[in-house]
């Protein structure tokens, strides 16, 4: 139990610290690296909760794909972050004020947390006890039955995101030479190689 609590605070504090570093690091590459650290710690928290599937997804998708993509983008785009931050101080006072008020209010709210007494009855779609089946299995059973509608809708959202990415970025450049493999491999030898019988010693 102690170890669990220790692990929780370790992960949680590290995640928060990493989050702070993401926005405060001067070097954008460092920011992204801290972001990856934050993801890892979040994954750790999920593991503590017994949600190992989500933890793995987090690592694979966010760390493996998203964060690395960010890294590439940050490195490839020439963005002067120092310039972007120039306006930061100017708006700091009022921004801080708004932030502090918001935080104070949220503290108030969470201070008054009362679990709805009926929550136990209406809790959405209870799944089987985690001990009996694996995470993945349980998720799959819910996603493909109770929540098929949402799952499909999410799929459509992703489809639209994909279409959008293609629409906004795909360019056809007629003047660019492209490699056409099928053409390459279907070319007969005669078209490509001319065999000349060169007599030795005569030159061309």
């Amino acid at each position: 139990m102690i170890i669990q609590a220790f692990a929780f605070y370790l992960f949680a504090l590290t995640a928060i610290a990493a989050g702070v570093m993401v926005i405060s690091a001067r070097n954008p590459v460092h920011s992204v690296l801290f972001l990856i650290l934050a993801f890892f710690n979040a994954a750790g928290l999920f593991i503590l909760l017994g949600a190992e599937f989500i933890a793995m997804i987090l690592v694979i998708v966010y760390v493996g794909a998203v964060a690395v993509l960010f890294l590439f983008v940050v490195m490839m785009l020439d963005i002067n972050f120092a310039e972007l931050r120039e306006g930061f101080l100017q708006y700091l006072p009022i921004g801080a004020l708004v932030g502090i008020i918001l935080v104070a209010e949220l503290m108030l709210i969470f201070g008054s947390w009362v679990i709805n007494p009926e929550a136990a009855q209406i809790i959405a779609a209870p799944s089987a006890a985690p001990a009996e089946i694996t995470n993945t299995h349980a998720l799959g059973r819910l996603i493909y039955t109770e929540y098929i509608y949402l799952f499909q809708a999410a799929g459509l959202v992703l489809l639209v995101a994909m279409i959008g990415a293609i629409v906004l970025t795909l360019r056809k450049r007629p003047n660019v030479r492209r490699q056409r493999i099928s053409e390459q491999i279907s070319r007969p030898v005669e078209d490509v190689i001319e065999i000349k019988d060169v007599p030795t010693g005569s030159g061309i």
């Binding site: 306006g87 708006y91 921004g95 708004v98 008020i101 918001l102 209010e105 108030l108």
Partner: protein, 641 residues
């Protein structure tokens, strides 16, 4: 026929007014003159029936207003008083209509003029035939309106516009009193019907009510308020300033409105309300004072004026003063008698002076006239007749009516009556003087006109002269024809119930000492003689005299400084106030805060809102966050309260 008499002029006015421009000048003249003549003929018949046969009657036309306890009908009340007034109004009006054909022949707006004239006549008839206060007020305001329109008829002339506005405003001041009086009558009697009110007056007399915080006698207060209205309309001292200026209007208008009819509406009103005034002795005393003072004051001014029409205008003012003090001493029939004779001879004088002006090509200043007698004999003769009548030379109409008034004043045996009598005698002297001053300056002596003008002076055409002849007949004969009926032995039978007199002053007036009777006549003779001396025999004398008593002369010549005084007390402060209200009140405050201010504020806000839209993403995001925080805070505070 009764109804037709009243509404024929309206018909003429409508047709001439709305279709005159399309159908031509000749048509407009015909369509207004013919009904008017018919109306005049009818009025003679009515006078015969009602006055001499005693067939008083009230014709109920329709119910006009019926609200709660206030019920007002449109009714034509024909008693002797009305019949006399209808007779005077229609006859003079008919003559003026005919005269206008000739006088206004060159004017480009003939249909409009004829329509106004007829419309005026209709309103005047509505006034005199009124059966209740509201109908009377309708006619009262109607004639005021027409007076305004006619004074300002030559609207291209700024002075005419100013005079029209002045007439209207001064009249409105009087009307305000009149309206208050009407309200008070309704408050006190619960009705506006003449008969109902008159029946109730004896019961109310002597009671008091709260007016403007003071406990005052009801009938006296109401009578005084109504008299303010009469003062305005009849140009009595204080509210007289509009009348001389009203001479800016065309001369027929001056004759009809400002001599014969409209200005006498005040006198008529007081006489009509005699059942009320008889129970308000204080009010009558005030009337005597105002009337006598006006008579004297206007006569003095008349002595000095140079404009031929202004002299007659002040003379009118003065004669109206006579009528009022006659009313004030209780000699109502005498007042109406003088009203009638005055209508004839004053209309004659005005139209005659119009004829002179016409002949002199719109010259009105007597200093540039003189010696016109050989050129326009008929006009001069007619003017002589009018003046003789005005001055009260025996056998002419004015003699009878003026005498009975002065005798009544004397016979009243009150301090105020004597005040009126002696002022009246002085006025008789001055009247004779300025009348002959006018005649001498205009028609006799050597001409002071330049040669060309003098050569072109001509007698007026028959269409102008003919009405003058009719009026001259009235000026000569109306006195001795009517004296028996109006103020003589047959007075009681003639007037019937139309006039209430508690003390029979007229009866007593017949028994005054002989010197009282002949003094005015003597004064007239002296006045005429004095005028002859000063303007025929020794033409240099007036100037010397004026120089000798220069301050007095100036005071009188400047019309007792009434205009200047009013200008200083009322007009300028009003202008300042109006200007101030316009510039700072309306311009800065109302426009500034209202339309302009709202518009400017709108644009200002629009500009600010526009600047808020900076285009920066983080501004937008920030605005959203602030919105969220704002709402959340609002709720948290609401929640914890």
């Amino acid at each position: 026929m009764f109804t037709a008499t009243i509404f024929l002029p309206l018909l003429g006015a409508i047709i001439a007014g709305f279709f005159g421009n399309r159908l031509g000048n000749r048509f407009a003249q015909l369509v207004s003159v013919l009904p008017m003549l018919a109306s005049a003929v009818f009025s003679c018949v009515i006078l015969f029936w009602v006055g001499f046969q005693g067939q008083s009657q009230t014709i109920h036309l329709f119910t006009w207003i019926d609200v709660g306890t206030l019920e007002i009908s449109w009714a034509l009340r024909f008693d002797t008083l009305t019949a006399v007034m209808v007779f005077v109004v229609t006859v003079v009006s008919a003559m003026v209509h005919v005269y206008s054909i000739g006088y206004m022949a060159q004017d480009p707006h003939i249909p409009r003029f004829m329509a106004y004239l007829s419309l005026f006549t209709f309103f005047m008839l509505a006034l005199v035939t009124a059966d209740n206060f509201v109908q009377m007020f309708f006619g009262w305001e109607g004639v005021g309106l027409c007076s305004y329109l006619l004074i300002g008829f030559w609207f291209q002339r700024p002075s005419a516009n100013a005079a029209a506005i002045k007439a209207f405003i001064v009249n409105r001041i009087g009307d305000f009193g009149f309206m208050l009086g009407i309200f008070g009558v309704f408050y006190a009697f619960g009705s506006l019907d003449f008969d109902t009110v008159f029946d109730a007056v004896p019961g109310v007399a002597g009671q008091s009510f709260n007016f403007l915080g003071m406990n005052v006698d009801i009938v006296t207060t109401l009578c005084l308020l109504l008299f303010i209205g009469a003062m305005g309309k009849s140009a009595q001292i204080g509210l007289h300033t509009w009348l001389p200026d009203a001479m800016e209007g065309p001369t027929p208008v001056s004759a009809l409105i400002h001599a014969a009819t409209m200005v006498t509406a005040g006198v008529f009103m007081v006489v009509r309300l005699s059942p009320m005034y008889e129970f308000a002795p204080i009010a009558l005393t005030v009337i005597v004072f105002v009337g006598a003072s006006t008579a004297f004051f206007a006569a003095t001014i008349g002595l000095t004026q140079w404009d031929i029409k202004r002299v007659i205008a002040y003379s009118t003012c003065s004669q109206l003063g006579y009528m009022f003090f006659a009313v004030g001493v209780g000699a109502y029939p005498a007042a109406i008698f003088h009203l009638m004779t005055h209508a004839f001879f004053k209309a004659l004088l005005f139209l005659g002076s119009g004829s002179v002006i016409h002949g002199m090509h719109d010259e009105q200043d007597m200093r540039r006239m003189g010696g016109l007698f050989p050129k326009m004999k008929v006009t001069a003769a007619l003017m002589w007749i009018g003046s003789l009548s005005l001055a009260g030379v025996p056998l002419f109409a004015g003699f009878y009516s003026k005498d009975i008034i002065l005798e009544s004043a004397f016979a009243a045996h009150t301090g105020m009556g004597l005040y009126a009598y002696w002022l009246g005698i002085a006025v008789a002297l001055m009247t004779a003087f300025y009348s002959w001053r006018l005649l001498f300056l205009t028609f006799h002596g050597k001409t002071r006109a330049d040669d060309q003008t003098f050569d072109e002076v001509h007698e007026s055409p028959p269409v102008i002269i003919a009405p003058l002849l009719v009026l001259a007949l009235g000026a000569i004969f109306s006195g001795w024809l009517a004296v028996e009926y109006f103020v003589g032995d047959q007075m009681k039978e003639f007037w019937g119930g139309s006039i209430l007199m508690l003390n029979n002053v007229i009866e007593e007036a017949h028994h005054v000492p002989d010197w009282v009777v002949w003094l005015p006549t003597g004064m007239a003779a002296i006045g005429i003689a004095a005028a002859w001396v000063m303007y025929m025999a020794m033409p240099g004398l007036p100037k010397q005299l004026a120089t000798a008593i220069r301050p007095v002369y100036r005071f009188v010549f400047r019309k007792w400084y009434f205009d200047e005084l009013y200008d200083m007390i009322f007009v300028r402060p009003s202008f300042y106030l109006g200007h101030g209200l316009w510039k700072s009140g309306d311009g800065d405050v109302i426009d500034g805060v209202g339309p302009d201010g709202i518009a400017a504020a709108t644009r200002n806000i629009a500009g600010r809102v526009g600047r808020m839209q900076s285009g920066y993403l983080y501004h937008y995001a920030f605005a959203m966050l602030i919105g969220i925080v704002g709402f959340a805070t609002w709720f948290l505070f609401g929640f914890f309260q």
